[in-house]
């Protein structure tokens, strides 16, 4: 099987890898920049494509068919199914904008820059362990992880929160593939199912929230506190 497969020379592998990682980081950062919820979902879909491309590139380079297949699956889920579900929730709830984030957009981008620096500083020992082109990209995954968390903290609309959560999950998946060339298929399947379930729950929840409160601003939930 391996003989028939197309081999990727290192001169092509590293730029492709960097390109995918760059796209991954850029889409993550742009989630902070855009306020239009539909645009945020589009960005998330683009990030899913970048992630899938990254895994496929890794799979082709390592000549691992299974990894390529996983990459395609991840792409189908994160660039196809999840954005589709979120768009449906968005349409059901009427398109909206992130009107008043807890931290405004300019500050958010500055914070993201700081988080990127932090991620680079923290990831250095990991890179030193095995300095390959793949592990060199780990700081990007960590940055997106922190950015996702930051989105979760500062964005008010339920959909932005889910995107923040999914950004974190994307980043975790990316870290797994960069450092260990993929977790076992069963684990990856399990995580994907979890994520899918979370989005489905979110879809039901936003509909209910809209019915109950007339909006999806999470701070409306404050009244649940004792």
């Amino acid at each position: 099987m391996t003989e028939t497969m197309f081999t990727l020379p290192p001169s092509l592998y590293v730029p492709l890898l960097d390109l995918a990682c760059g796209a991954f980081l850029l889409t993550g950062m742009m989630v902070l920049w855009r306020r239009d919820l539909a645009a945020i979902v589009r960005l998330f879909a683009l990030q899913g494509i970048a992630l899938a491309a990254l895994i496929v590139v890794l799979g082709v380079y390592e000549q691992d068919v299974e990894l390529v297949a996983v990459g395609l699956g991840v792409g189908a889920l994160r660039a196809g199914l999840l954005p589709y579900l979120m768009r449906r929730a968005l349409i059901a709830g009427g398109a909206g904008r992130e009107v008043r984030p807890v931290v405004n957009v300019a500050t958010s981008l500055l914070v993201a820059a700081v988080l990127a620096m932090l991620a680079y500083a923290v990831a250095q020992p990991l890179i030193r362990l095995s300095p390959t082109p793949a592990t060199q990209a780990v700081p990007i995954a960590l940055t997106v992880l922190l950015v996702g968390f930051f989105v979760l903290v500062t964005r008010r609309r339920a959909l932005s929160q889910v995107v923040g959560f999914l950004l974190m999950d994307n980043a975790i998946t990316m870290t797994a593939f960069l450092t260990t060339s993929g977790v076992p298929l069963v684990v990856e399947l399990g995580i994907s199912m979890d994520v899918l379930l979370a989005v489905l729950v979110f879809q039901v929840l936003t509909t209910r929230m809209r019915a109950a409160f007339g909006g999806t601003d999470l701070d409306e939930l404050r009244e649940l506190h004792d």
Binding site: V102, L115, L118, A119, A121, V122, Q124, P125, L146, F149, F150, L152, V153, T154, R156, L218, D219, L221, R222, E223, L224, H225, D226
Partner: protein, 669 residues
């Protein structure tokens, strides 16, 4: 497996079966099955303990039973003594419980937790490694906590008592855990055999001793860690009160003896001085609080603090004598302490069970509402009288014997003990004498006000005698008290085996009828004293009868100063009985009284109503615990501002924690 092991394991198995019976059988069968099972387990535990006291020891290692460490059990004579005491108390309490639990206490949880509580108390002395000991200790704490809150639906004080008990017992557990873990880490192994052979630095030994003593003292209700005891013991169902007050508190003493004298092989003078002083303060403070208490079961709970204080005086004195190199006196003091543990278990079981009968018959524990039970509950009255006599440290009671032994050891310490001893020993003697005197007043009050004279309240007037199962349990406890009082020589020789585990050497007390003390020329014969007293009382009665029958009897109304017929309202109450004592110890007790006079509207000189309230609060609780509690409440209130209900805020906490940790990592890596 030898005799001890067989008996012990059978007892544990029966406890487990009884707990199952308590959970799974229908209400009608539940009480007899669980009660008889627990009683049987108690009897077997006693047998195992006695066999171990007679010299047969047993040990086992079950590596698969607990992960990582396994279960290590060993029963030596010292463990056997505490097993036997626990077993007898469980036997009496379980028989009593069959009758007592009918009214509302026959729930599954209570009936299943009681056998497990007994099993845990049998396991604690048998544990022979740190992990086994801690597991058994925690099992004992949890099951007893469940039993304390058994009655929470009917009385609101139960919840508060449970909270106090839960917090105090777990703080104590933390202290024991810290001490024993430090010990095991220093020794490089966790079985008691390894701990015995450990060579630790003096600082570590001192830390281990102090930490464990704090934990064990909190279980024994020693001042100032006693605050839970007068709350939790009275609020538990009465047979559980008896188990806790007569058996569970002993585990604190066991822990101190086991760790301090056996595992650490004794220590410097200051260790034992701490124990002795804590014991002396507890003895005095406990009996003072008991003397002014008007709640029958609370009074008994305070008396437990007093008696554990006396035991700790003995243990502390034994450690001191050992540190000073006087092995004979050390053995005598420890013998006295352990004998007092046995004696206290006997009379406190009886008293708590009798108090439970009173509570069941009248619905109240307030001595000011009781009285006149002698004609309505004759057996309970008689049994309580036996218990009160035993508790007041007067001949022919059993506490007299152990306190006499304790006094002998302290008095004879003077020539050998240097300046420190010359100061502390006479003070300790004074404390014991004073507490004995106050104990007499306390139990005269409890018996005289509670059972004699006319009923002070309508509940007392309607009281009826308890069912036979309850009387049986009490009678069994009374028999144990009588045997201990009249024939202490029967158990003192075997007691010396237990003493020898902690302080190797020959027995301190010998004799068939009279007690002869080794190295001291004192002799006492409880049996002869009792016979002499009996003869004297019988003689006096006969004489008065002879003298009285010479006159013709006249029936007349009691002289009432012309104030109309005497009513129960004019009787002496428990509060008034204790008032002189309260006055004498005013500075210590700091009682609070409050007079509220409401004048008639028209004239300030005419009084419409007078309201008088008197209360003796626990001063240590007020000074020591309330400030701590108020600080904790304040901090807790402040912490509520952290949780406003905003999802973003909660997420931000997580975000800041993560980035903070990462920044630390980046800076310090």
């Amino acid at each position: 497996m030898n005799l001890v092991g067989t008996l012990f394991c059978t007892a544990l198995a029966i406890c487990a079966l009884s707990a199952l019976a308590g959970l799974a059988t229908p209400t009608r069968l539940r009480l007899p099955l669980a009660g008889l099972g627990t009683a049987g387990a108690g009897a077997l535990g006693t047998a195992a303990g006695l066999a171990a006291l007679l010299g047969e020891s047993w040990s086992a290692w079950l590596p698969e039973l607990l992960p990582l460490a396994g279960v290590r059990l060993a029963i030596d004579p010292l463990a056997g003594l505490f097993l036997a005491v626990t077993g007898v108390v469980a036997l009496c309490a379980a028989i009593y419980g069959i009758g007592y639990s009918r009214d509302g206490l026959d729930g599954r949880v209570v009936q299943a937790a009681a056998p497990l509580f007994v099993a845990a108390m049998l396991l604690v002395p048998a544990a022979a490694s740190v992990s086994t000991f801690l597991v058994a200790w925690e099992l004992m704490a949890i099951t007893s906590l469940l039993l304390v809150v058994a009655d929470h639906r009917h009385r609101s004080a139960v919840g508060e008592a449970g909270l106090w008990y839960g917090v105090m017992t777990h703080l104590g557990f933390v202290a024991i855990l810290a001490g024993l873990l430090a010990f095991a880490a220093g020794a490089g192994g966790e079985s008691f055999d390894q701990l015995r052979q450990a060579e630790l630095s003096p600082a570590l030994r001192g830390t281990v001793f102090l930490a464990t003593v704090v934990g064990f003292a909190s279980k024994a209700g020693i001042v100032p860690l006693h605050v839970w005891l007068p709350r939790a013991h009275p609020e538990a169902p009465s047979q559980i009160s008896a188990l806790m007050s007569a058996a569970m508190v002993n585990m604190g003493v066991y822990g101190i003896v086991r760790v301090g004298l056996d595992l650490l092989h004794g220590g410097p003078v200051w260790w034992w001085m701490v124990v002795l002083i804590a014991g002396a303060i507890s003895a005095l403070y406990g009996i003072l609080q008991a003397a002014v208490s008007a709640d029958l079961k609370r009074l008994l709970g305070h008396s437990t603090t007093e008696n554990m204080g006396l035991v700790l005086i003995g243990v502390g004195a034994a450690g001191l004598f050992a540190a000073w190199g006087n092995a004979v006196l050390a053995a005598l003091a420890l013998t006295a302490a352990l004998l007092h543990v046995v004696n206290h278990a006997g009379f406190k079981t009886l008293l708590f069970l009798a108090a439970g009968s009173v509570q069941r018959a009248t619905g109240t524990r307030d001595l000011d509402q009781l009285g006149g039970l002698r004609t309505r509950m004759p057996y309970t009255t008689g049994l309580f009288a036996v218990g009160a006599l035993c508790a007041s440290a007067l001949p022919p009671g059993n506490a007299f014997v152990s306190e006499w032994l304790l006094l002998q050891s302290l008095i004879h310490a003077l020539p050998t003990s240097g300046v420190v001893g010359a100061v502390t020993m006479p003070l300790a003697v004074g404390v014991i004498a004073l507490s004995a005197g106050l104990a007499v007043a306390t139990f005269v009050k409890a018996f005289g006000i509670g059972f004699l004279a006319k009923p002070r309240g309508p509940e007392a007037a309607r009281a009826a005698e308890s069912p036979p199962a309850m009387l049986g349990g009490m009678a069994l406890a009374a028999c144990c008290c009588l045997v201990l009082a009249l024939a202490p020589t029967a158990i003192l020789p075997v007691l010396s085996h237990a003493v020898a585990v902690a302080l190797p050497g020959p027995g301190a007390v010998t004799g068939e009828v009279s007690l002869h003390l080794a190295g001291i020329s004192s002799v006492i014969s409880p049996l002869l004293i009792a016979v002499a007293l009996g003869v004297a009382v019988a003689g006096t009665l006969a004489l008065t009868r002879v003298v009285a029958t010479r006159r013709v009897r006249r029936a007349a109304r009691l002289w009432d100063c012309g104030g109309g017929p005497m009513s129960a309202r004019m009787e002496y109450t428990a509060t008034s009985f204790a008032e002189p004592l309260q006055r004498v110890f005013d500075n210590v007790l700091a009682p609070e009284s409050d007079v509220d006079v409401t004048p008639v509207k028209e004239s300030a000189y005419l009084v419409e109503s007078v309201r008088f309230r008197a209360k003796v609060p626990d001063r240590i609780e007020r000074r020591l615990y309330e400030p701590v509690l108020s600080v904790l409440t304040f901090v807790g209130r402040g912490a509520r501002h952290l949780a406003t209900g905003s999802v973003h805020r909660y997420l931000a906490y997580g975000f800041w924690a993560l980035t903070g940790a990462l920044i630390m990592l980046a800076v310090f890596q």
